[in-house]
Structures are given as C-alpha cells and as structure tokens.
Amino acid sequence: MGHLMGKEYCLDHLVEVAKSIVLAIHKAPQITGKTKIEAEIIWGEDLEPILDVMEPVGKVMRYVQWDYETIKNCYDKGESPVIIAIGGKVSKSNLNWNCGACGFNTCKEFNAYSKEYKGGGQLGGPSCNWKILDWAMACDWACASAWQYRVDNRIMGSVGFALNALGFMPDMDAKLGLALGPPRDMVYYNRDEMHKSMSYEMDKKDMVNCVPNMFTAFPGGGTPMYKTKDDWWAPPEFMGVGYSEEVMEAYQQVLFEQVPEMVVKHADKIAERYKKK
C-alpha cells in the first residue's frame, strides 16, 4: 500500500534510473572487446565540486556556461540533476594493430608517446581511436538508455573536463558526464532554465562572431563591410583578425589559476574516496 505524491520521489528515483543506465553502459558493444569502461553516479551536494570547476570555465566558454547554469539552477531549486560519469581507458593500445589512425606507424610508438604526454589535454588524450570508439559507444548507450526511460538528458564535455580536473575515476583517461533530469521536458534542449540568461543583443553578437559569413556584405572590394545593424552602411563596420591578449589572458587565468584553485579545494576529498575503494 502506498501513496506517492509531489516530486520528491521522482527525484529520488532518478538515481535508480541512473543505476539502470549504468547497466546499459557496461552492456554496450565494443569493437575491440578490450576497452575498460567505468561509470559512477554523482548527485546532490557531491555536484558542488563539479559546478565549482565549471563556473570559471563558463566565463570564457559559452557552451560550458550553458551547461553550468542549467545544472546549477536546477540544483539551487532543489531539483538536483544526477550525473553519470563515464570513463574509458583509452590512452594505451594493447591491440598491436598498427593501423595508423593515431598518427604513429605502430601501437608501440603510440604507447611510448602516450606515456610521456598522457592526460595533457583538456579532455585527456592521447587516445587509441579504436578504444575511443568503444568508449563512445558506451556513452551513446547511456544516452539511448536514458531516452528509453524518458528522462531528459545530455552528454557533456564540460562536465567531462571537470571530472578530469578533479580526479574523478583516476584509472580512466577519457571522461564525459551524462546529466539526467530533473524529471521534466526541455531541461537540456531549448533550456527553460536559461530563458532569462540571454539577451537578444548577446545572441546576435554571438552569431556575428561565430557565423560571420551570414553578415558579410559585397566581398568584391576585398575588405567587406559587415551587416551588424539595420542601417549597416551608415557608418559601415569591418571585421579584423588578430591576436587577442584579452581573450588569451582570460583563458589562461581560468585554466591556470581559477580551475586549479577549485581543484585544490576539492581534489583531496575526492581522492580519499578512491583510496577507500
């Protein structure tokens, strides 16, 4: 007998759904049959370190800002999304296929390079491409499984970066995060949570910056004007290409100062969990 009411039990059940999705992750087919995959489930207060790392990155990276604000807003409202961290051990090839996909003639040469540069990228790397395929299939099965449960979800590189920086799943090289729920429509697509975050001007500026050919006037002169306003000819505006100290400084500040600060704040506590394991 029972009578479940409100939203609380739905939010609780998200964790159970996540567990079922992890079963799909481990059941996902592989090409090599030799790629180690791990998955972990994180929610509630344990999302805070991840959000702490995403926040500064979001200031210089729009897609990270979007992911960060969506998850943060839901969390602040007491509707914590559940994140499934999906990791793959991909930086060493035990295949001996010597296929060349990684850019080396042999797996042995790749492994020697990888040993030196392992983990240097924002999302890990270097990677054996066949193992990346295996891991990506596991990530895809996670997404497909979530859709079968009709839970709004999105696989996120932004979360993967935070997982990597904070030392989640230390044995894994490639990491992504699948954000699940809260249980309603349009959490991660169309993004209700972001409705007040973006002005028309901001959207338009992004479009001009990212898709400039949409706004290019007659290019025959060699230095085209750009149609950035209704009366774009009076006075005309032009676009320039050059090194931006401002942008690079902001990137570096985030990557080499603000993110490490958050990592120092949380990493030991996270590392402790793996020691106990």
Partner: protein, 274 residues
Amino acid sequence: MKKYVEDLNFQGEEFIGEWTPWSPQDIRRKKCVLEAARLMVDSAFTAPCAGGVPSLEAHIVYGQEELEALARKIEEIAHTNESWKEPFLYEAVMVRDSDVIIFLGNTRCHETPLDAGCGMCGGTLDCGYFYEKKTTKHGLVDITDRSSDKMIDGPLCTARVGDLGYAVGSALWTAATLMVDARPFASIGMAGQKMGYCPKSGMVVGVPVAAKAKNPYVDVNVDYHLINMDKALDNTRKIYQTSRIIRGFDYRKWIPKPKKPEDSQTDGPEGGDE
C-alpha cells in the same frame, strides 16, 4: 502536379524462411533485415555529436557477390598483420553469414576537425598534434594525396572519432531494440573503406546485420575460417556422395534391413524379399 495514387490492392502472402540460402523465402527474410538496417542507419544519423555538426555517412550493402567481395578483402587484410590474422579470418566468415552490411564513416575526422583544443588526439592543450602531422595551409587540411601505407591515414580528430562511436552505438541500440543481430567490426570497416564504401570518410566501422536462428557473430569455434556452416555443408557434399557410391542395391527389389534376433544364425546381410 503529380498526385500520389494510393494502391489499395492489399492482398498477398509472403512465405519467409531461412533455408535454403538465397531461395525466394530466404531473400524475403533478407529484405526484412534490410528494412531493419535502414532504421539502424536512421538512428545513427540522430546520434549525439560534438557541436551538432553533421559528419556521418553510411553505406548499406547486400547481395551474394557484394558480401563475398567484402569477405575476400577482409581475408586479404588479415594476412598483412599477425594480430589481425585469426580474428579477421573469423570475421570474414561472419560477413558471408550476414544478410546486410552497414558501413558508417566519419567525413570530418581526417579533414575538418572539431578545432576545440580538447587534446584527446595527442594530449596537448591545442590541436597542434593533429595539424603538425598533416599537410595544411592556413589550418585547411589537404587530403588530395590519398596514398598511405597504413590501413588508416592518421592522425584523426579524436572528438570526431568519438562522434562515429556514438553513431555506431545508436545503430546497435536500434538493432537490439528490433532484435536483429548486429555487431561492430574494425575488419569490416577497414576492408569497406579500402573498397571505396563511405568514400568521404577518414574512418569507417562495419556493422553486419542478420536475422537467423543462430547469431552469426557469437559462439564461434576455433579455426572458424576452416570449420563453419558453409564448410560443414560443403564437406557433407564431399563425404556423403562417396559414401553412397561404395555400396549399391536396387531399392525396388531389395533394401537391407536390421538383423532380426531369430534369424541371427543366418549368414549374410538381411533384406526385404527379392
């Protein structure tokens, strides 16, 4: 304007069976698998991808000659690398036992990378690892020299390769949902790429599909390239015929019968009346 004319002659019957291979009933069964394969490809195109960028192409291949040519290409590749030899030879058998082959390829991984500086290809904080190993001008990759002594002309943009993995995963998810048998194979992908399937792709994965009593892609025996259903059937043809011709009788007049206990003292073979 051409109008759609609805065909309301909805009558018919379809006899479908697995035996004998390439019989009308077997070809009808294969056509069902072809429908499933098409849905799998649809799923692959809806798979998540970095930045929502289209980068997938697909080829669906079927027919006795087409599958035989693919199997032979895999056998050719198998003998170029000791690590591939046995598994690839086994997988060539699986191709012959398949109904339809799907090839999924990523058209951007070798030419138009994500350019996001993720570092997954080379473990660096930018895309330098990829670009430094390619022929480029202003960040544009020149792929016109397609000669390569490697099976795959790397390095590839690993983020794009990940997108290919998502596509393959979604195709396989749909196969599982439709309960047709399918598995992803490197051997089939590489052979297909060399044969010109998915012509714009830098990396290709092959997904054979079948709907038979026994899943062709699991539970194989050792030396599968030598001992498999095709070979077993051929050996039956080889052995059984000879077994017939080393004895003979006119079945209209006399057929050998098992010995009856009371006649056990009688010498010679038992048989019906002359």
